[in-house]
């Protein structure tokens, strides 16, 4: 259409009118923005801590919860028989003392008598007995019930082979005495009493409110904080519990937001809308920009990443090829590409746990690796079938497997095909029929080598490598029951050598780290390598010492 002379005037008038509407809207928006600008802002509120949970906790019932987000909240609402110190030893908590009897087969806990629930009722041994039995009850369908399988008859009851809970090795002797019998000695058992799954629970509350007992209006807890508000998928508010038996926290209110996107959470921190952030709120590039800030800290976590083989699939049926792969990967690449202070690892037991030795694994040695590969019949990688490496799709995981692929190609001439799958499909595939190689990670449940080493025993449901060795299983079995710490560490070390140097069903790659930033007006945040965060000792105020840094 060509615009004819007469129309042009009308059309441009029309356009102008539309244009005016447009301008008016822009003006409105800018006026609104300017008025927003003039709002006074304070950088923080004394006694209020604002943190980011990342996602909605799937549930606060600590019997059905399985994820770290739920446990982060529960750890601040509840206390168990024992409690972790900052050095990850178990200190008395609800239990003021305990005895280990019958060569490690019987534990007797003596409870304090000043314990109170948030509704004022006393915490008794019967609350523990009820909680443990509920955890093991098949009807509860608790995913983490297996943590108590060392208790007499626990497995049988949970799996329905035993109908009655009466024969379980769990008993409240009186209000203040709680007794547990184990089917075999388990040196790590005491750690489980600090873990969320073993916390006490109130029978009347749970039975009265059913599935809704964890909503703030019904929830009854015994820890330093109590849940006062829960806007699902958005925010939780925890207030200091004035009836807490230990020191009542100084921080009056914790606001836990659920900001899923790390770069948004980080921007919130930069704009003083969060006071403390951790990995969940760090996109990698942010770590780089703030590495030298006094607010930034970085420390190791007990979370190990590894590359696993399905030892029943060619070419990794040959231990020499598995070993060649282990020796051909230069682990120092991982911290350089991930840029969050990761620590390269060659042994499965991480430093800081008993049994760790830097020599348990293999060293980076491409020449020796090539020699091994040649010995196995594939000089320079010639003739090797292209092996699949399966990984779950996440940015950081993708980078690590791409780097691995690149190294194996360069150092061994080995071609790897990367296959990514969405998380649930990945889990299903690895479990059903794991491909020749896959990438996995494991986070410690308690600070003991057992949590790592048990993974590759024959009966462990998480051992997807198809590798097993009775000698390894025997070593782990012996270590579980060994009460002498030095002997126990040595047993685990032997098993570690077997895993990382001799049989090589897995190639440990690196240990994850926790990156945090804390605003100068916040002190007392306790964080440990298990990635549990305790806020009971936090202080939020502009003390004189802090003042200098704030301005």
């Amino acid at each position: 259409m060509r615009i004819i002379g007469d129309d042009r005037y009308l059309i441009s008038a029309f356009a102008k009118r539309l244009g005016h509407c447009f301008l008016a809207m822009l003006l409105l928006i800018s006026v609104l923005s300017l008025s927003a600008c003039s709002r006074p802002r304070s950088r923080f509120e004394t006694g209020v801590l604002r943190v980011n949970l990342g996602t909605e906790p799937p549930g606060l019932d600590w019997h059905t919860a399985t994820d770290s987000t739920s446990f982060d909240v529960v750890s601040n609402l509840m206390v168990g028989l024992t409690q972790y110190t900052n050095k990850l030893t178990c200190a008395p908590s609800c239990a003021k003392s305990w005895e280990i009897l019958d060569g490690g087969r019987r534990y007797v806990f003596h409870l304090r008598d000043d314990l109170r629930w948030t509704d004022g009722k006393p915490v008794t041994a019967y609350d523990f007995e009820y909680a443990w039995k509920r955890l093991l009850n098949p009807v509860t369908a608790a995913q983490y019930a297996f943590f108590l399988y060392d208790v007499v008859n626990a497995r049988e009851y949970n799996t329905g082979k035993l109908k009655s809970a009466d024969t379980l090795g769990i008993k409240a002797v009186d209000d203040h005495t709680f007794e547990v019998r184990l089917r075999k000695p388990a040196a790590y058992f005491i750690y489980l009493t600090a873990f969320c799954v073993s916390f006490p629970m109130r029978k009347d509350v749970v039975e009265n409110w059913g599935d809704r007992w964890t909503e703030p209006e019904h929830f009854v807890t015994n820890g330093p904080f109590k849940l006062t508000k829960w806007q699902h998928e958005y925010k939780m508010e925890l207030a200091a519990n004035e009836s807490y038996f230990d020191r009542v926290p100084q921080v009056k209110l914790i606001k836990m937001f659920m900001v899923p996107e790390a770069s948004t959470a980080f921007a919130l921190y930069e704009n003083d809308e969060l006071d403390f952030i951790d990995n969940r709120s760090f996109a990698t590039p942010d770590v780089e920009r703030y590495r030298n800030s006094p607010e930034y800290k970085n420390f190791p976590l007990l979370r190990a990443n590894y590359l696993a083989f399905n030892v029943t699939k060619k070419p990794f049926t040959d231990v020499r090829i598995r070993k060649a792969v282990a020796m051909a990967i230069d682990r120092s690449i991982f911290p350089r590409i991930l840029r969050r202070g990761e620590r390269p690892a060659t042994s499965w037991i991480p430093p800081a746990l008993p049994g760790y030795s830097p020599d348990s694994g293999t060293k980076f040695d491409p020449a020796a690796a090539r020699a091994l590969l040649a010995e196995a019949g594939y000089p320079g990688g010639k003739g090797l079938p292209k092996a699949e490496l399966l990984y779950p799709n996440r940015d950081d995981v993708r980078l690590t497997v791409e780097a691995t692929q690149d190294q194996l190609k360069r150092n061994l001439g080995m071609e790897i095909e990367l296959v990514n799958q969405e998380w649930k499909v990945y889990l299903a595939t690895v479990r059903k029929d794991a491909p020749p190689m896959f990438r996995n990670s494991w986070g410690a449940d308690f600070p003991d080598p057992e949590t790592f080493m048990n993974l590759f025993t024959k009966d462990c449901g998480n051992n997807d490598t198809k590798w097993s060795d009775p000698r390894y299983d025997a070593l782990i079995e012996a270590a579980q029951g060994e009460l002498n710490a030095a002997k126990r560490a040595d047993l685990y070390r032997q098993a570690d050598v077997m895993l990382c140097r001799e049989a090589v069903p897995i190639v440990p790659t690196f240990l994850a780290t926790q990156n945090i930033m804390i605003k100068p007006w916040v002190t007392g945040i306790a964080i440990n390598p298990l990635d549990l965060q305790f806020f009971k000792d936090v202080v939020v105020s502009d003390t004189e010492a802090n003042q200098r840094e704030i301005r």
């Binding site: 369908a141 949970n158 937001f257």
Partner: protein
């Protein structure tokens, strides 16, 4: 008109039934189950879980159970958010998405349609080219980049608007603008194209040749007729935008329901997948019924059903 509405309501029932059934089948044939997790569980515990949620029954029985509950308006329970029903979850999340979506959609229409009309009447001139650049930007730049850029400029550098969260009316501005970008771009291009189509029609030429006296009425006709494609895309667009956007809710930490379209599938949270799908289907059916009604209003010659 009333007849059309009644017919559509009656038709909605089989449509929803088909959607529910197909989705039910889809979720069950896709690999991965709701209880596959980081830590592999003993088979006995998986059995306990499956029994709790009736997932141990044969699939046809599960299907009938599901339809039975659905008939009573019960969308089921979430496996991931252990103690919450799907009805609860959606009752919390949908109003948020609805608010944000309505504002966004209004913004998109208010910006997109005039922009397209201006581009059409100024065809080939600088206004047209500017409109073209803006709308190409709106559709070719991914939502997360738009969001991140807006946050960077308005929240971090200028500090005039909040970064994210859902606290005050100020918190709506950036997400609403982000969400409006691509619909506005689409509406602008579509309005431009259809205005051009209509303007070239013979009756418009004829009317125009008759002189200025009729021009105003013709202008009304042009707008009315050219709105048909715009209204057409507004149907599904409304359903999509008011049920929330994963990207926008994710970036701005907004507790809406858009995220469930992705996360429920990722978690294989069967009932939640079905719930969100059905809510979307209901809204889509309503929106499309309105679209068909709007056709008859815009162009009375269009007959939708004999």
């Amino acid at each position: 008109m009333l007849a059309l509405i009644i017919k559509r309501i009656l038709l909605a029932i089989p449509v929803l039934l088909v959607v529910a059934s197909l989705t039910f089948v889809l979720v069950r044939i896709v690999p991965g189950g709701p209880f596959d997790a980081d830590k592999n569980l003993p088979p006995e515990i998986i059995a306990n879980l499956n029994a709790k949620y009736h997932l141990d029954r044969p699939v046809p029985e599960q299907y009938l159970l599901y339809l039975g509950r659905l008939a009573q308006g019960d969308l089921g329970v979430s496996y991931k958010y252990v103690n919450r029903t799907v009805n609860d979850i959606l009752a919390d999340a949908f109003p948020v998405s609805l608010q944000l979506g309505t504002i966004s959609l209004t913004l998109a229409v208010l910006v997109g349609v005039p922009l397209g009309a201006i581009a059409a009447v100024c065809r080939g001139r600088k206004e047209d080219v500017i409109a073209m650049f803006l709308s190409t930007l709106g559709i070719s730049v991914p939502g997360f980049v738009i969001g991140a850029t807006l946050i960077f400029v308005f929240a971090i550098k200028l500090r005039v608007l909040p970064v994210g969260l859902w606290e005050s009316p100020w918190h709506v501005v950036l997400p609403a603008v982000t969400l409006a970008f691509s619909p506005a771009a689409y509406l602008a291009r579509l309005t431009r194209a259809s205005v051009l189509e209509i303007v070239e029609k013979d009756w418009v030429r004829t009317a125009r040749s008759k002189g200025l006296s009729q021009w105003n009425t013709v202008l009304k006709h042009i707008l009315r007729n050219s709105l048909i494609p715009v209204v057409t895309v507004l149907g599904p667009l409304t359903a999509i935008v008011i049920t929330g956007s994963f990207v926008v809710e994710y970036i701005y930490a907004i507790p809406g329901m858009g995220r469930f379209f992705i996360t429920a599938v990722m978690n294989r949270d069967y009932d939640l997948i079905l719930g969100t799908t059905l809510v979307f289907a209901v809204l889509l059916i309503i929106a499309n019924t309105f679209v068909d009604l709007a056709y008859q209003f815009l162009d009375p010659r269009m007959r939708i059903e004999d």
